[in-house]
């Protein structure tokens, strides 16, 4: 800065370590290829996918509210969570249960949330993580503020947040990134670029060639990674976290993936996108990709696969049962956590709600 003549070379790299057909890149370090870790990634992604299938069928049978599946995007959450320390803070969007499960949110908590029960956001584990965030992009400034708090208290913790491709069109995203750049907060912002914001394709969201380059205007490093390559996601996020932890400031990571399912169970993607494109994208999805690598390394067998699927199904069934058997909510729950203490002037409202909750004919039209 200061010179009369200035230019700027935009540089956004793209990292892929595992090709869609499962071949490992020469650039992959020995530690990136650690087979035990990759098997753990494979198990975790499969676990998320098993859950998603079940959640959708629960919704279809009237046992769950609207649900946003992570189908095809599992590698982003799993690779990211594995790069975080337990003490770090996750500030999620609403499609990040892959990462949340790795961080200890239970499947039954996830189901409670989407089943219309606030208790789903009162995590038993990962109690420092933020709850889901539905108003798109509003979580981005929270992540920067949380990171500022950690920085101010000199805590050895970083914040990781997710946002969708659509979310990066929103002012809150730009404002947050800008502040992160100015203050050098220890935050990693990960864009899940799944190609769609409901029916709005990526090209109608932004004329920029990449979303990662949005970092440039904020003075922040921006990188792209193959979001269906869990090895690359883990590597790129791990480096960004190391940088943040050592005082190097924020990073914006655009993870390129594809939303293989509907936006949510309330959506019907066949109205606006060609099923042929989706079929083609199935050849790039993260789980089959890693499986073919593990198989080629002799690290994964048919028997292990069958055992894994069985274990996942059993876990999901247990968690679904816990969800369905959750104690009923009383009308008091609306008032319980409104304030630290319910103002005396509101007590009559709580009692009024109780009075009607007990009545049978408390129906609607």
């Amino acid at each position: 800065m200061g010179s009369m003549e200035m230019g700027f070379d935009l540089n956004v790299d793209f990292v892929q370590l595992l090709s869609p057909s499962g071949e490992i890149s020469k650039a992959a370090s020995a530690s990136a290829k650690d087979i035990d870790r990759l098997v753990r990634f494979y198990r975790a992604m499969t676990r998320t996918r098993t859950f998603d299938n079940k959640a959708i069928s629960l919704q279809r049978t009237g046992q769950l509210g609207t649900f946003a599946s992570a189908l095809g995007q599992e590698a982003i959450g799993i690779g990211t969570a594995a790069a975080m320390e337990e003490r770090d803070v996750l500030v999620p969007s609403y499609r990040d249960h892959a990462a949340q499960f790795s961080r200890g949110m239970s499947m039954s908590e996830c189901l409670l949330y989407w089943g219309g029960d606030e208790r789903g956001s009162d995590f038993k584990h990962a109690r420092g993580d933020f709850p889901n965030c539905v108003p798109v992009a509003t979580q981005a400034p929270h992540a920067v503020g949380a990171a500022y708090a950690l920085m101010m208290r000199k805590e050895d913790r970083v914040v990781v947040t997710f946002i969708g491709d659509g979310g990066t069109s929103n002012g809150a995203f730009y404002e947050a990134l800008n502040m992160a750049g100015v203050w050098k907060t220890p935050v990693v912002v990960i864009i899940n670029n799944n190609g769609w914001a409901i029916s709005t394709p990526r090209e109608l969201e932004s004329a920029a060639e990449t979303l990662a380059q949005k970092a440039v205007a904020a003075g922040v490093e921006g990188r792209q990674v193959d979001g269906n390559d869990v090895i690359a996601v883990h590597e790129v996020v791990r480096r960004a976290i190391e940088k943040a932890r050592s005082g190097g400031g924020p990073t914006l990571i655009e993870a390129l993936t594809y939303r293989l399912g509907d936006h949510t169970t309330a959506d019907d993607a066949s109205r606006y996108r060609d099923p042929e494109i989706v079929r083609a994208q199935w050849t790039r999805e993260p789980i089959a990709r890693l499986r073919s690598y593990l198989v080629s390394e002799g690290a994964w067998s048919k028997e292990q696969e069958a055992e894994l699927l069985k274990a996942c199904a059993e876990e999901v069934d247990r968690e679904v049962a816990a969800y369905l058997n959750a104690s009923p909510l009383s009308s008091d729950a609306m008032f319980d956590h409104l304030y630290a203490k319910l103002p005396d002037s509101m007590q009559w409202q709580l009692e009024d709600a109780r009075r009607f909750a007990e009545r049978k004919e408390h129906g609607d039209v």
Binding site: T66, V134, F356, H362, D364, V365
Partner: protein, 326 residues
């Protein structure tokens, strides 16, 4: 004539307005190919083209702001905010610009825009999808605020809103989108933006309501009639400017008033109506005014939304209270 739902009536009115005026255009998230998440704009992009039905980037503040710019240039933008829980960033543009552009420029520039948004609870939607923000907008000078409660009223009021020379906030109760059908003639006839609708006449009490609470109130009226109590039901679909005269006339006749709304009680629009009645018709009252509203809580997720929203039962209870008071 055919029987259509409220959301179909919105679609019909938008198509009519676009057909009769080339300067009407629509903008919002997912309103084009997808036809809006509730299908309110279904088929309109195919019919009127991408220049007049714009799938915007995900930016509510931006949507409202560009609508202000378009309107200032004389276009008639009808912007959709996908759910009213996401309308808050748009409020900056509405309160600081849309509502006062005419006033600031002494009439040199105007803002003939409509901001449409689904609102309200009761459809088991996720977090932040069940808000009732009408009182916030009614508090802003220079705006019109409308909340239709039937297909025919949605059609006539939306046409009027698009044709109106000033900014209109048009809140569509999601629970009514497909709750029932009604005959709607696509005749281009608008409804007045400053008159209450008297939906049912009665002698014993006046029940004033709007939006999703209208069908509940009408159902309560049926049940009360079986008990021999007849109520007058007034739909305040045009909240602002408020047609208080119709309400006062009714209260002067019945002597009792119950106000029903889904939004939280404190500083809800019912408070405004109650204050007007207290100022101007107090001596006609046989009983204190009663409000039946959402509680002063964050609108709960699906499991408890029924406990939050005023029910037929709560409305009947409210009417009984004013009946018993005198």
């Amino acid at each position: 004539m055919s029987e259509i739902t409220l959301v179909e009536a919105v679609n019909l009115a938008l198509a009519r307005a676009m057909n009769e005026d080339d300067e009407v255009l629509l903008l919002g998230e997912d309103i084009g190919v997808n036809g809006g998440v509730f299908r309110a704009t279904n088929g309109l992009q195919a019919r009127f083209g991408r220049a007049r039905v714009i799938d915007t980037p995900l930016a509510e503040g931006g949507i409202a702001g560009v609508a202000v710019g378009m309107a200032a240039m004389g276009l008639k933008p009808v912007a959709e905010i996908q759910f009213s829980g996401f309308i808050y960033p748009a409020i900056d543009q509405i309160i600081n610009h849309a509502s006062r552009l005419r006033n600031r420029t002494r009439g040199r520039m105007t803002c003939p825009m409509v901001l449409r948004s689904p609102c309200g609870a009761g459809i088991h939607a996720p977090e932040h999808h069940s808000e009732s923000p009408e009182a916030m907008f009614a508090h802003m000078p220079g705006l019109r605020v409308v909340a239709p409660s039937s297909p025919a009223r949605a059609y006539g009021l939306l046409l009027a809103a698009v044709r109106d020379p000033d900014p209109v906030i048009f809140l569509e109760p999601t629970r009514l989108y497909r709750l029932f059908r009604e005959e709607v003639a696509d005749d281009g006839v608008e409804l007045p933006l400053d008159a209450c609708f008297m939906l049912r006449e009665g002698a014993d009490a006046t029940v004033v309501t709007w939006g999703a609470m209208v069908p509940e109130t009408l159902a309560a009226a049926e049940k009360l009639e079986e008990e021999g109590v007849t109520i007058e039901v007034i739909d305040v679909a045009t909240l602002k400017p408020l047609d208080i005269e119709t309400i006062l006339r009714s209260v002067e006749k019945t002597g009792r008033c119950v106000i029903v709304h889904e939004a939280p009680r404190t500083a809800g629009f019912g408070a405004e109506i109650a204050a007007e009645i207290a100022e101007r018709a107090l001596y006609s009252l046989l009983a204190p005014i009663k409000r039946v509203t959402g509680y002063d809580v964050v609108v709960p997720l699906a499991k408890l939304e029924r406990q939050y929203m005023p029910s037929v039962d709560r409305i009947i209870d409210g009417v009984r209270q004013v009946m018993e008071a005198s």
